[in-house]
């Protein structure tokens, strides 16, 4: 019954009395980039945080439904939640570098997962910084606090930090919206490359961006999934009236 890497089935989510996600069903294909579109407030961020179960930090949250990752229900399981979270790297809207040095930002996740000692850590830190094309920019100041980097560099650092714990999936919540155009295009290009090895889920409200890099598109409105499909079909031949309105820019 599961077709995608991640299969969201009949997902309902409430914050207190507010019904935020309404019977959401999504199939997220493996090793592709899925873009989630929708006007602000429609529940995109909430959906992302439900995937890696960060949403459980909210006191009033109530969740019903199933989320399968490789045929395993990750919502209703006794499995350690940290194991689930580790499989999904998260990139937030504003980069959130940890309050430590550039080196330790990458090493943090490695240490958490049991790799220690500078000799083992250093080559790994270099590897992941190279992967996001940040190594040459920071190799001489690895001991500087990460907050000294520019916003664009910080976002790439956060991406590298996420990659370092070997996730299978990367969740990105409007990862380029706080960045300058140049950094945004660098991050975007990296996403296109990462598709080879990872399943990517990205929230955006920039239609052009979605069109450029998406393989699969999900459109949400007021907590409901209105339409989903391969990118070409979605943009060229939308089936729902709401989607057509949205693509015309009616909600912005």
């Amino acid at each position: 019954m599961q077709q995608g890497k991640i299969s969201i089935q009949n997902l309902d989510l409430h914050f207190g009395k507010h019904h935020i996600l309404k019977n959401v069903n999504i199939e997220i294909p493996e090793n592709q980039l899925t873009v989630i579109l929708g006007p602000s407030g429609c529940g995109k961020t909430t959906l992302m945080k439900t995937l890696n179960r960060l949403v459980e930090l909210e006191e009033t949250v109530k969740i019903n439904g199933k989320i399968f990752l490789d045929n395993e229900d990750i919502l209703n399981t006794d499995k350690d939640v940290t194991e689930i979270r580790k499989k999904m790297g998260l990139l937030s809207q504003r980069p959130a570098p940890l309050p430590m040095s550039i080196f330790n930002n990458i090493a943090y996740g490695l240490r958490i997962n049991g790799i220690s000692g500078r000799r083992k850590l250093a080559p790994l830190v270099e590897k992941y910084l190279r992967q996001v094309n940040l190594w040459d920019e920071v190799k001489d100041r690895l001991k500087d606090p990460a907050t000294r980097l520019s916003i664009g560099q910080q976002q790439r650092l956060c991406l590298a930090r996420g990659l370092a714990v070997n996730p299978e999936i990367i969740l990105a919540d409007e990862p380029t919206s706080a960045l300058d155009p140049l950094s945004a295009s660098i991050v975007e290009k990296q996403f296109a490359e990462l598709k080879k090895d990872y399943t990517l889920v990205m929230v955006t409200h920039v239609l052009r961006q979605a069109r450029r890099i998406a393989d699969y598109v999900v459109f949400m409105y007021l907590g409901e999934v209105i339409e989903q499909g391969p990118v070409k079909e979605f943009f060229e031949n939308p089936k729902m009236e709401k989607t057509r309105e949205y693509l015309k820019g009616a909600f912005n």
Binding site: K49, N52, L54, L57, E59, T82, E83, R85, K86, M88, G89, L90, S92, R94, A96, L98, P99, M100, Y108, G109, I112, N113, C158, R161, G162, V165
Partner: protein, 297 residues
């Protein structure tokens, strides 16, 4: 006519405001200068070094060595801070990171009421509970005989008084840590506790130090509660079960004789000046650090 009256009112209130502002800005200066002026007498005759580091306390002979009092003050203050630190840290972390917001709302008045209880009540409570506890149970545990009126009793009472004070600051500090940071750490597979240890506490480090800096200056100046349980015996305490005699207690206990012994009043005002300088110093640094923190957040 009505307009004139309005204008007059406005001018009058402006004047009133200017005077009040002037008063407030001048107050710390006047306090410091007047204490300094009063201390000049004993400073000139005994010298600063002698006053601070001599242990000879003979008011009738005009010898005022504050060292034993300074040491007592330090002992009591440090002990109070040490005892209070884990309680404050654990509670603040629990209330901001683990518990429901309902529990935090429930605890807030508890903390406020603890903060509002007068020193003298803490003192009475100390005499009834802490002093016997130290004298009858804690001291014998170490094979020491003690009346209970001791540095340790002072430290314990102080630690209780410091809890609401420091806790309130800590809660504010932990609240300023952005959720995104915790989320970033959690999504890397860290447990909640690891996230708190390595990210939340680290991010709040300056704020935590400031909270305890404010607590320290509060503890250093606390008078009546400590005075009631600390024993008030002049001399260098050898252990925490010995009685001590902190600076504020010295001032409070001797105001009666202050004017009948020459130079005594000057010496006591010097003690008040030491308190003022130490307290202002730590307050200054802590407040500065907190302002920096708020700016960044």
């Amino acid at each position: 006519m009505a307009l004139k009256l309005r204008k007059f009112k406005d001018q009058f209130s402006s004047l009133w405001i200017k005077i009040s502002l002037f008063f407030v800005v001048l107050l710390p200066v006047v306090i410091t200068l007047s204490l300094l002026y009063k201390s000049m007498f004993v400073l000139e005759t005994n010298g600063l070094k002698e006053l601070l580091f001599s242990s000879v306390w003979r008011p009738l002979a005009g010898q005022f060595g504050f060292w034993p009092f300074i040491i007592s003050s330090l002992w009591v203050t440090i002990l109070g801070l040490l005892i209070t630190t884990p309680i404050c840290m654990f509670s603040a972390i629990f209330l901001t990171q683990y518990s429901s917001s309902r529990l935090l709302r429930f605890m807030q008045p508890v903390i406020d009421i603890l903060a509002g209880i007068p020193s003298v009540i803490y003192g009475v409570w100390g005499i009834l509970i802490i002093v016997p506890m130290v004298g009858r149970y804690l001291a014998p545990l170490f094979g020491i005989e003690s009346t209970g009126f001791s540095i340790l009793a002072g430290g314990l009472v102080l630690s209780v008084m410091l809890i609401p004070f420091i806790l309130n600051v800590l809660i504010e500090v932990f609240k300023t840590v952005p959720v995104e940071l915790s989320e970033a750490s959690l999504s890397l597979g860290a447990t909640k506790w690891q996230t708190i240890k390595f990210v939340v506490v680290r991010k709040s480090f300056a704020g935590i130090i400031s909270a305890f800096g404010l607590g320290l200056s509060r503890a250093f100046g606390e008078t009546i509660a400590v005075l009631m349980v600390v024993g008030n015996v002049v001399g260098l305490p050898k252990s925490i079960f010995d009685p001590g005699y902190p600076l504020p207690a010295l001032i409070a206990n001797n105001y009666g004789e202050m004017l009948s012994i020459p130079m005594y009043d000057s010496a006591l005002m010097f003690a008040a000046l030491i308190l003022l300088v130490v307290v202002m110093f730590f307050n200054f640094l802590s407040r500065l650090a907190i302002i920096r923190l708020e700016k960044k957040a």
